[in-house]
């Protein structure tokens, strides 16, 4: 395992904070987007894109690159924020996000945005897609890892479990799923809309290694991702317990902020809470 120094942890925490600031700013500018699930995933994205994933922004098609699929594609703001901060494309392109001539779509599209591994947006696809990528690595004798991020509400989709049992059947140790387990979906709490607990038991019963972490602690996330690589006999799921809207008091645990856009005043308050000095 790579050593996580206090400095590295602080660096990833700062990146996560920046991803939150960027996500909310972009959603506000565009007048559309999904803030809640972008905020809950910020530490996971920071850990993946700035510590774990073997990727090369100057060569997005590098054959050996690790693959990441944002199955919960509505959190595109945090993915675009991570990709641009990682150097896949200039941040200025996102000034035009939402305009007709902007290459970056509302939900991720692989043919338009460098670094987007797979088109997503309709929920449920990621696990089965990831299984395909993991099988391809085996066939082609490539050592890349495949990572997929799901929402916990997304786990209500039956196709998630088609992908889960397929991954277990083929013992895809090179596949890791991270569930952004924030217990909030569009219509309310996951535990009200359609309870999925015990979620760990469901994955375990499908033949997966299950690791549970606090999804806002980068050390726990990184250690879980590294532990997953040590599992050689099957796929691993990391249940990352998170707070929807994390970091912004009036957004936390509110399903309203699944897909609503902060106005100027709300944005400024949010940025202030995130420690960002407003510049007008």
């Amino acid at each position: 395992m790579k050593t996580m120094t206090p400095e590295k942890i602080a660096e990833l925490e700062e990146i996560a904070r920046q991803l939150r600031v960027d996500s909310l700013t972009l959603i506000h500018q565009r007048g559309a987007g999904h803030p809640g699930g972008a905020l809950s995933a910020a530490e996971i994205m920071a850990a993946l894109y700035f510590h774990v994933l073997r990727i090369d922004p100057t060569n997005p098609a590098w054959e050996q690159r690790d693959r990441f699929i944002l199955s919960k594609g509505h959190a595109s703001a945090v993915l675009y924020s991570a990709l641009t901060r990682r150097g896949f494309f200039p941040f200025s392109e996102l000034d035009h996000w939402g305009e007709l001539d902007c290459p970056h779509q509302g939900h991720p599209e692989r043919l338009k945005t460098p670094g987007v591994e797979m088109t997503s947006g309709i929920l449920g696809h990621g696990v089965a897609l990831g299984a395909g990528l993991a099988l391809a690595a085996r066939l082609n004798k490539l050592t890349y890892q495949t990572y997929v991020m799901l929402g916990d509400g997304e786990c209500q989709a039956g196709i998630v479990w088609e992908g889960a049992v397929t991954s277990a059947k083929y013992r895809l140790a090179n596949l890791t799923v991270i569930v952004d387990n924030n217990d909030v979906q569009l219509d309310g709490f996951v535990h009200d809309v359609m309870p999925m607990e015990p979620l760990a038991g469901k994955w375990s019963a499908c033949g997966w290694h299950v690791i549970e972490v606090n999804g806002h602690l980068v050390r726990q996330i990184v250690e879980a991702l590294e532990l997953a690589q040590e599992m050689h006999d099957g796929p691993t799921v990391i249940l990352a317990h998170t707070t929807k809207g994390k970091g912004v008091s009036f957004m936390e645990n509110q399903s309203y902020w699944h897909g609503n856009v902060p106005n100027k005043e709300q944005l400024l308050q949010a940025l202030a809470e995130l420690g960002e000095v407003a510049n007008g």
Binding site: R67, E109, R110, L111, E117, M118, T119, G121, I122, H125, A128, L129, G130, A131, G132, L133, A134, L135, A136, A137, L139, N140, L142, G158, I159, E162, G163, V165, T166, Y170
Partner: protein, 312 residues
């Protein structure tokens, strides 16, 4: 190949393709003994993935494989691929433009013993409406086999519609095939029969009957429903002045609709359409009788030809 079914010809061809193209992989949904992808599975077990009864999951696994350069042929029943897995095909194959080949077996009413649940009579409409999809319908066993390597080499998603059964043999092995190019199988100037799939053979017989009655019908095979050979169809409309379409599919959304769209915009001549008249068809004892019952008989084509001539 007169004596083998379309699925048999396909299954053998897929296994042969596997021997010359190591990028080809095959997936199935617990139907490999029916689709006959098991010929491939037997020879290349490391490149065959049985996903269980899960068509949507199979599409996505195949899309993932395609992202890394594999050429996946996914196998299953057309009714399930075109309906249960349609969203996956739209999003992860067409929109994401992954190089997935959909071998849709048991199409039309060819699974005559199982009935309407297993018939695929809307698949051409479903798939034709997807941007980025290429839709191919072989007319007989030899043609089904011939498409397999061409489909593998074709860059992009393909829906290859296969019958469980045989079909009247039309094509000698090795006859020329090109995606998007229809074929004139018989010349004639009184009207044009436009057929796809198993109805091509029936239209050959219809054209012979018409000829015996002094009516010379041109016969055009449209194996590629999309992209459609509009040029060939408009030429037929201009030169013969009347068309009859014939397909083993619902009358809504398939070949007849596609031809009507072309004619309406380019050369509006009288058109009659032979197909299933927007209903669920019953089970049958044999396919030929069932197809006759479903309005797909040779006589139905002949009658339509006479009707359309009266409208010229």
């Amino acid at each position: 190949m007169a004596d083998i079914s379309m699925r048999e010809a396909y299954g053998r061809a897929l296994a042969e393709l596997g021997a010359v193209n190591s990028r080809v992989v095959a997936l199935d949904v617990d139907t490999s003994m029916s689709t006959l992808s098991h010929y491939f599975a037997q020879r290349f077990p490391e490149r065959f993935f049985n996903i269980g009864i899960a068509e949507p999951g199979m599409v996505d696994v195949a899309a993932g494989l395609a992202l890394c350069g594999q050429v996946p042929f996914i196998n299953g029943f057309a009714a399930l691929l075109a309906l249960r897995a349609l969203e996956q095909i739209r999003t992860c194959v067409c929109y994401a433009r992954t190089n997935v080949k959909i071998a849709a077996s048991y199409a039309g009413v060819s699974d005559f013993k199982d009935g309407a649940t297993h018939y695929a009579i809307t698949d051409l409409a479903n798939l034709r409406a997807l941007p980025g999809m290429t839709v191919i319908v072989p007319a007989d066993a030899a043609e089904a086999a011939a498409w397999v390597p061409l489909v593998a080499d074709y860059d992009g998603p393909v829906y290859l519609r296969l019958s469980r059964a045989g079909a009247l043999p039309i094509h000698p092995a090795g006859s020329f095939l090109q995606v998007g190019k229809g074929r004139i199988l018989r010349t004639g100037s009184d009207l044009t029969l436009v057929a796809t799939g198993a109805m091509v053979g029936r239209c050959v017989l219809a054209a012979e009957q018409l000829s015996a009655q002094g009516i010379q019908a041109r016969l055009v095979e449209i194996h590629t429903l999309k992209p459609l050979d509009s040029e060939l169809l408009l030429e037929a409309a201009e030169e013969t002045g009347a068309l009859v379409t014939a397909e083993e599919h619902n009358i809504i959304g398939g070949l007849g609709s596609a031809v009507a769209e072309v004619l309406a915009e380019g050369c509006p001549v009288p058109l009659e359409r032979i197909g299933i008249r927007d209903r669920f068809c019953p089970t049958g004892r044999d396919l030929d009788t069932l197809m006759d019952t479903c309005g797909l008989s040779v006589d139905a084509v002949v009658s339509a030809a006479k009707r359309v001539l009266e409208r010229k």
